[in-house]
Each structure stands twice: as C-alpha cells, then as structure tokens.
Amino acid sequence: MKNRLRELRAARHWSQADLADRCGVSRQAINAVETERHDPSLPLAFTLADVFELTIEQVFLPDRPSVDR
C-alpha cells in the first residue's frame, strides 16, 4: 500500500529507528511498510497515523482504482 511515511518522517527529522521506537515495532517493520513490502495491520496503521497526528487516510493511499458510486 502506498504511503507517505518517508516524507512525513523526513519532515520531522526522524530516522526509521526513531519512528519504530515511537510505534513500538522493529525498524525492519517500518522499513518494510515504507518500501511497500508489508501492509501494516489496522492497529499498526492507526498507531502510525497517531504518531504523526494525522488520520490513516492522510498517511496511507489506496493503490486501487477509484470506485464509482
């Protein structure tokens, strides 16, 4: 899933390890989410959004075609 982790992290001058400590996960997990190799669980996605004081929609971008309503 596309996300803005790298950009948000860079804006705050945080390393991956800093973000990992704030979220209580390993740096590898942050790296995997950032490089789109791992889709985070809903609890981790909420934690990541909370850490950046944003909503999930502002951090994660769905990589699927938009649904016509």
Binding site: S15, Q16, A17, D18, A20, D21, G24, V25, S26, R27, Q28, A29, I30, N31, A32, V33, T35, R37, H38, P40, S41, L44
Partner: protein
Amino acid sequence: MSDHLQEDNHTRAARRALFMEGLPVVTLGALALALGSGPDPGTTLRNGWLAATTVFTLSVVWLLVRAFRRADEYLRRIQLESMAVAFAAVMVALWLATALAAADVVDLRQVVPAILVAGPALWLVLADLRTRWHR
C-alpha cells in the same frame, strides 16, 4: 541517512531477552551433550542424559515460542513464511528419502536425522537472510 546504522529499542530489547533466556538453555544443551558423550554410560547416567535432553528440547521450544511472541507483526510474518518453506522442504526431502530407501539406494535411519536437523537450520537461515536482505 543514519537509518541503517541506528538500532531500535524493540530489536535491542528482543536481542537482550533472547540472550538472557538462551544462556541457561545453551548450558543445559552442553550438559546434555556431556552426559551422552560417555562410551559406556550406566543406567543412572543414561537416565540423566535422557532427562537433560528432554528438558533441553522443551526449553528450546519454549525459547522459540517466547521469541515468536515478542516479535512484531512483520518479523512474525517473516518467521512464519520461513517456517512454511522449511517445513515444505523437510516434507519433500522425507518423501524423497523414503522413495530412495525403498529402492535400497539410501539408509533411511542415516538420512532422516540429517533432514530433521536441516529443516530448522533452513528455517533460521531463511528468516535471517530475509530480514538482512532489506535493511
């Protein structure tokens, strides 16, 4: 960027816990090995070796379960996928060894322990390589 040089607290704590819990288990393994290395062990020594080996095996399982529970969702996924690949490899190897033993090509009693040792080794190597690959 210093991303790859820094270590997070989660990994540091997990490594420390594994070391603290692993030390007595390794000691027990060495004790079991020492008890079983005698050329002609008596009944008492043999029973001691059996007890030490059983406790050692159970404590290795306990160690792995603890490490698994401590891991975060990504590392747990890596462990599970590596375990699945190793399990499949062991199954195929056992099937092959059984077929070859039926054809009198190999001795099953000699091959099976090697396969059973190679399985967990493959699991650990795969899990390690996969976490090192994308640092």
